[in-house]
């Protein structure tokens, strides 16, 4: 403990000395107009991701904390700015400690909710019971989720350094979660229209409280433009719902459920095809509209953020997000088809349809095994294709410009959390 205090004192003294030097006029301010350089390669990721997957399986998931750490170390160390790389200083043990603490909180929570669901809100219980249970459960999960998001960001920032200077985050996870709850209810009450308002205040809170060294980030955007952009996916969704509803009303699709299966294609063929095609086209358009909005949002966050005298400009477009996911899904689809076809052929005798046919009870097992194999392959491909490409695009499309005085940017004085992300891990907040 004494050593820690000692170290802190020495730190403060050194920072004060450095500050004094600046005041004495030995500062070197530079003009900057530069993009971060990303040098990550998919083939370099492959051995890391593969080893991670194998060890995670062998340890029933326990290795995932060290696995996440290795992946983060790789991605961050391949991002460089002004010639110096970022660095991730977190450890698997820190994540593990966070997990142990949350295990003690989260497991009883899930246990009690499971119990209540089984006995009070089981299928067949009164609708009021079920509704109350669902509402309380969802609110509690949403609240915990928001706390987890905020705390995870605090941990990750505190472990991100550049030129030896730490990032950090102030603010309160509880206040953030309360905001998220209020704004979430507002979004619900306005049928999703208030979503950009919620996003602006939540992301704004996260940006405003983030800092790098002694300097804070500042977000200065409103939500007018966001709202206008949000209308694209929102209206697409509304139009799609309306069109499907109209078709259902016109042709009474409820009848379809009672139609014998062999007649269904005939009934579908008799549907007003133009409207149906229009509705299906909207259904396909919806994810693209959503990704377009996400890209717009990302530009909005980045372009309105200021760091001291540095401004950020992003040119991130829809295709930068869409193509990595598209490539990932296409590769995954091809691999899955190959696996199912291969297994189906190898075990074709197991699918004997006659009564008492050979070992048919193994058929579900084989299906589970192939789903598992595909899940594993997805785990390998995701960082290699999606994350790798996304990070590259984000770096390429980002420019930092303005003036920057490296010797006036001092070491962060924020306390570092000792453990990381237990709650975010338990709630599966994000993939890496």
């Amino acid at each position: 403990m004494n050593e820690l205090l000692d170290r802190k004192m020495r730190y403060r003294a050194a920072v004060a000395r450095a500050q004094a030097q600046v005041i004495n006029g030995r500062s070197a301010t530079m003009m900057v107009k530069e993009s971060p350089a990303y040098s990550g390669r998919a083939f370099q990721l492959l051995p890391i991701v593969f080893a991670n997957l194998m060890l995670t399986l062998l340890t029933v998931g326990l290795y995932r904390f060290w696995a996440k750490t290795r992946i983060r170390k790789y991605f961050l160390s391949r991002i460089a700015f002004l010639g110096d790389p970022l660095e991730y200083t977190g450890t698997g043990a820190e994540l593990f400690k966070g997990f142990m603490i949350v295990l003690v909180i989260m497991a009883p929570f899930l246990f009690v909710t499971g119990l209540v669901q089984q006995f009070v809100a089981a299928p067949g219980a009164s609708a009021v019971n079920v509704a109350v249970y669902q509402a309380v459960y969802l609110l509690a999960i949403y609240f915990l989720y928001s706390v987890a998001v905020y705390r995870a960001q605090r941990y990750r920032l505190s472990r991100t350094i550049w030129r030896g200077i730490r990032a950090g985050q102030e603010g309160s996870a509880l206040l953030y979660a309360l905001r998220a709850l209020g704004l979430g209810l507002l979004t619900l009450a306005t049928a999703g229209l208030a979503y950009p308002v919620m996003r602006r205040y939540l992301v704004g809170y996260r940006i405003d409280n983030a800092s790098f060294g002694t300097e804070r980030f500042q977000y200065g955007g409103g939500f007018g433009k966001l709202f206008a952009a949000w209308l694209a996916p929102w209206l697409t969704f509304a139009a799609m719902l309306g069109l499907f509803g109209y078709i259902a009303w016109e042709r009474d699709l409820a009848q379809l459920a009672e139609t014998p299966p062999d007649l269904v294609p005939g009934v579908l063929a008799s549907l007003p095809s133009q409207k149906l095609y229009a509705a299906l086209a909207l259904l396909l358009l919806l994810p693209i509209a959503m990704i377009w909005y996400r890209a717009f949002e990302a530009r909005q966050w980045i372009n309105n953020t200021q760091f001291g005298e540095l401004a950020f400009v992003s040119r991130l477009r829809t295709h930068h997000i869409l193509f990595p996911y598209l490539a990932y899904w296409i590769v995954l689809l091809l691999v899955s088809v190959a696996i199912f076809a291969g297994l189906g052929f190898a075990f074709r005798s197991y699918f004997d349809p006659r009564p008492g046919g050979a070992l048919r009870e193994f058929a579900p097992l084989i299906a589970i095994a192939s789903v598992f194999a595909i899940w594993m392959i997805a785990g390998v491909l995701q960082p290699m294709i999606v994350q790798n490409r996304l990070i590259r695009s984000i770096c390429r499309t980002l420019t930092l410009q303005g003036t920057f005085s490296p010797d006036r940017l001092f070491q962060s004085q924020l306390n570092m959390p000792q453990r990381g992300e237990g709650l975010a891990d338990a709630l599966d907040v994000d993939a890496f």
């Binding site: 050194a14 450095a18 070197a28 170390k73 295990l103 497991a107 490296p406």
Partner: protein, 367 residues
């Protein structure tokens, strides 16, 4: 401060002092007292003690070697020339693959202990918690759960065929159930169904539901044997074992879904599978409890335990003859001891469990 006698070469480096984001170009060289950092004009900037020098990240061929000093967590030296490692290794023991530090050992031990404690809790803690929690749950709450469990069992094992409901057979089964239940005090309304499946099995579900499989009734040689098995399952019900099993399995799911991280689809499936495997059979203790309860019920009803014992014995013979292990036995281990226990406390049978006519109609309940 560098003296000409030092043989170490100079390595160009970029220095961050950990206090500001400024970078200094410098050179580093090894000296007996530590890693000496000098400005390009030769003036010494600092010296890191060998005990403090460590790698800030794992060296990669396409990147600079990055060193840090333990005195200043933010300090960094980036050295492009990988030969620096060969020069520094003899001095800096953190750069060698040396003995593991005590801290690392403690961390590893802590992780192992936490892991072991969690596993122990899975195995011993959950059943221990399940009993008091089960006692808190009103029997009436379980009924919807029991009904849906019976439905699922019927779906899985009898392919959703109608539960057997032959009128005379049902009446006989009800008579037998009443006879056995007469001596016990329970808040359950015990209901016994017969599933139309050839498996030789019987099981107890929450909410006072018992399912007997057609195969068991067909295999039984007398009504007393069916009465024995029924009493055993009823004893499970009365002692709330199915409820406890369900609670333990819920605990399993909850723990496993946290343990394996998040609630994604695959984890959910694993959790369910594991929960099922872990709790589909009751432990030896609970089986002994149920045997004891069955014995009391059978004695009170004047049926005696000879039927139960003879059913166990016939199952065991089948097993020894190499016939596929009867399902009922596979979840009920330790047959020999149980036969002994059941026979020891038996009162003599005063009357058969069912009349011949009733037994015949019970056998025909699925027709």
């Amino acid at each position: 401060m560098s003296t000409p006698s030092e043989p170490s070469p100079d390595f160009p480096a970029r220095l961050n002092d950990g206090h500001s984001a400024a970078v200094r170009n410098a050179v580093v060289r090894a000296a007996p007292r530590g890693l000496v950092i000098a400005a390009l004009d030769g003036a010494e900037i600092g010296c890191w003690a060998w005990d403090d020098v460590h790698l800030a990240e794992r060296p990669a061929p396409d990147r600079s070697i990055r060193l840090s000093s333990r005195r200043d967590p933010g300090s960094r030296l980036a050295i492009a020339d990988h030969a620096v490692l060969t020069t520094l290794r003899p001095h800096a023991h953190y750069l060698r693959r040396g003995p593991v530090s005590a801290r690392q050992v403690w961390t590893a031990a802590g992780i192992a202990a936490a892991f072991a404690a969690t596993i122990a809790f899975f195995i011993f803690g959950l059943p221990w918690i399940a009993r008091p929690v089960a006692a808190l749950i009103p029997a009436s709450w379980e009924e919807p759960v029991g009904d849906s469990t019976v439905e699922i069992i019927n779906q899985v094992f009898a392919r959703g065929r109608k539960l057997c409901d032959g009128a005379d057979g049902s009446a006989a089964l009800q008579t037998l159930t009443r006879k056995l239940a007469a001596s016990v005090d329970t808040s359950y309304d015990i209901r016994v169904s017969v599933a139309d499946s050839g498996m030789v099995n019987a099981l107890a579900a929450p909410g006072g539901r018992v399912v007997i499989f057609r195969g068991l009734i067909e295999r039984a040689r007398s009504a007393d044997e069916v009465a024995g098995v029924l009493a055993h399952e009823m004893a499970h019900v009365v002692r709330r074992h199915p409820t406890q099993g369900m609670i333990a399995s819920l605990g399993w799911s909850a723990l496993l879904s946290v343990f394996t991280g998040g609630a994604s689809l695959s984890n959910e499936a694993t959790a369910r599978l594991a929960a099922h495997l872990a709790t589909s059979a009751y432990g030896r203790e609970l089986e002994a409890e149920a045997d004891e309860g069955a014995l009391a019920m059978l004695n009170a009803a004047g049926i005696g335990s000879a039927g139960l014992a003879s059913f166990f014995r016939s199952m065991e013979r089948q097993e020894k003859a190499g016939i596929q292990l009867p399902e009922y036995l596979s979840t009920h281990p330790q047959t020999n001891k149980r036969i002994e226990a059941v026979t020891k406390g038996a009162a003599t049978a005063r009357k058969p469990a069912l009349s011949d006519v009733e037994w015949k109609s019970l056998k025909a309940i699925c027709r």
